[in-house]
């Protein structure tokens, strides 16, 4: 059996998205900046895509800017808010300890440039409180950036409440909705969000394309210089097929959400229930306020990469919170932030489901995870020490 359960890393491009892209490679391949009909047809397509995406998040078409992905959207949003802040001598930024590297590393860069960054602590359930944001806001706060939903533990933040506070206090509010868009309902007006990042490949659209919502009255500055594309805010020939694929994928995801999400959540909860039965295992993140497809567990005494590699041997694609692949030995900053000790944080497993998964696959995953954890514990000196009472269990 082959079970792809790594949909938070990336998703399969849906048939709808692919069908939307194909004509723009070799039939309507014009450059939207070209005056002639072939170019103008591409320009019209771009506009349609803008309308579709806007409709999905309650925005207006002209508030949507196309980018090369979630990372670029995050960077541009933050740098824009900071630029606006700089002009008013505001040099303080508020964020959380569990943001994606696209946000976190941009903030680190800004710290090196003299900005002051407050990273809000995150409680064990992985959800910050609006009050914490309210308390952190200062007169010189230029930006609050809080992710809509976390990529590792799937927890959903109280974005509408935070948005209301920021709006009231006159602080620009950005949310990295890369994991949320297409999976849970987003409405930028209801949520009082000023800027919002999305990335196509997280909702069955193609890789290498994203969007940034920017509220009408919020100034957006360029991250790159060049031509006058995207109303002079994002130069470079537009990725027309990619944009068409993204719009089609998001539209489909939002249209089907009411039907699909409960189905995925049922599988998620079955997985959570099953994995909880493994002794000395613990669910990471709030059990309910999490993305429909996200399951994240720590297993005491085993290491995450080996779980992932062994599951792969059984045809199951999953991921581990630890950033092993990237050459770093640090365990996930998210798991550390919610209070998991280092030795436990190394033993995490993330399974992220989509509508393509089945109940049968869930049962197969459960069977194999049990097997793999047991296998690895059997060769783990840590596990031996725990069993022999030489070491105390962290997870009861």
């Amino acid at each position: 059996m082959n079970v792809y359960a790594d949909n938070a890393a990336t998703t399969r491009v849906s048939r709808t998205a692919l069908r939307a892209m194909l004509p723009y490679f070799d039939e309507m391949y014009g450059n939207p900046s070209s005056l002639h009909s072939v170019g103008q047809r591409a320009a019209e397509a771009l506009y349609e895509a803008r309308e579709k995406i806007a409709a999905c998040i309650g925005a207006e078409p002209r508030e949507i800017y196309f980018t090369s992905g979630g990372t670029e959207s995050d960077n541009q949003a933050i740098m824009s808010a900071v630029e606006a802040g700089r002009r008013k001598n505001k040099r303080h930024i508020i964020s959380t300890a569990i943001e994606h590297h696209a946000v976190m590393n941009t903030l680190k860069k800004l710290e090196r440039q003299g900005f002051e960054v407050t990273l809000l602590d995150v409680p064990e359930n992985g959800i910050i409180t609006p009050e914490a944001v309210a308390e952190a806001i200062r007169p010189d706060t230029a930006l609050v950036t809080v992710m809509y939903a976390n990529n590792e533990i799937g927890t959903i933040q109280p974005i509408a409440e935070i948005g209301a506070i920021c709006r009231e206090r006159g602080v620009i509010f950005h949310s990295d909705a890369v994991q949320a868009a297409g999976h849970i309902e987003i409405n930028v007006v209801r949520d009082n969000v000023d800027m919002l990042s999305i990335s196509s490949h997280k909702f069955h659209g193609p890789k290498g394309v994203g969007a940034l919502y920017v509220r009408r009255s919020v100034p957006l500055t360029r991250l790159i210089e060049g031509g006058e594309q995207e109303r002079n805010r994002r130069p470079g020939t537009e990725n027309v097929p990619g944009i068409m694929g993204m719009a089609a994928a998001l539209y489909e995801a939002c249209e089907n959400m009411n039907v699909v999400a409960p189905k995925i959540m049922a599988m998620r909860d079955r997985l959570i229930e099953g994995l909880s039965k493994i002794p000395h295992s613990i669910l990471n993140g709030d059990a309910k306020r999490r993305l429909p497809g996200n399951v994240n567990f720590c297993f005491e005494g085993v290491e995450g990469e080996s779980i992932v590699l062994l599951l792969d041997e059984y045809g199951i694609q999953a991921s581990s919170g630890s950033a092993c692949a990237s050459g770093s030995l640090d365990p996930s900053h998210v798991l550390i932030a919610i209070g998991r000790p280092h030795e436990i944080a190394h033993g995490s497993l993330r399974l992220t489901l989509s509508e393509e998964n089945t109940q049968e696959e869930v049962d197969y995953i459960l069977e194999k995870v049990l097997q793999v954890v047991e296998h690895l514990r059997n060769m783990s000196p840590v596990w031996r020490d725990l069993v022999e009472g030489k070491r105390e269990y962290v997870i009861q």
Partner: protein
Amino acid sequence: MLYSETVMDHFRHPRNVGVIEDADAVGEVGNAKCGDIMRMYLKINDGVITDVKFETFGCGSAIAASSMATEMIKGKPLIEALSLTNKAVVEALNGLPAHKIHCSVLAEEAIKKAIEDYYKRNGIEYDKRDFPDCDSCSYCQNE
């Protein structure tokens, strides 16, 4: 693939996994905090490693490196085992990704630690500088 076929083979089917209850020496390196722990058990007879087992908590390459290293020292005189380098382990594994080289270092060090333990138990003199110590390891930033 991330790992060579040899690494994957040793990861899938690790050789010499387990414990030697009446081991003549035990060596352990790494810590759970930094994500890798290796423990080596040796049976030594007449200066020769007659049996070896390992337990490893760690990533795929840590498990494979432990497995390969035990294969390479089994039946060998202590003096030969002592000269096993992490480079030899990497070569035997048909390479490791750059950021996984430290796993082969751990394997080398676990063996040395075990042999050191043997010297200690048996009151054999040795030069401390020939043996690893965790403080000199730069792989995990111990707080």
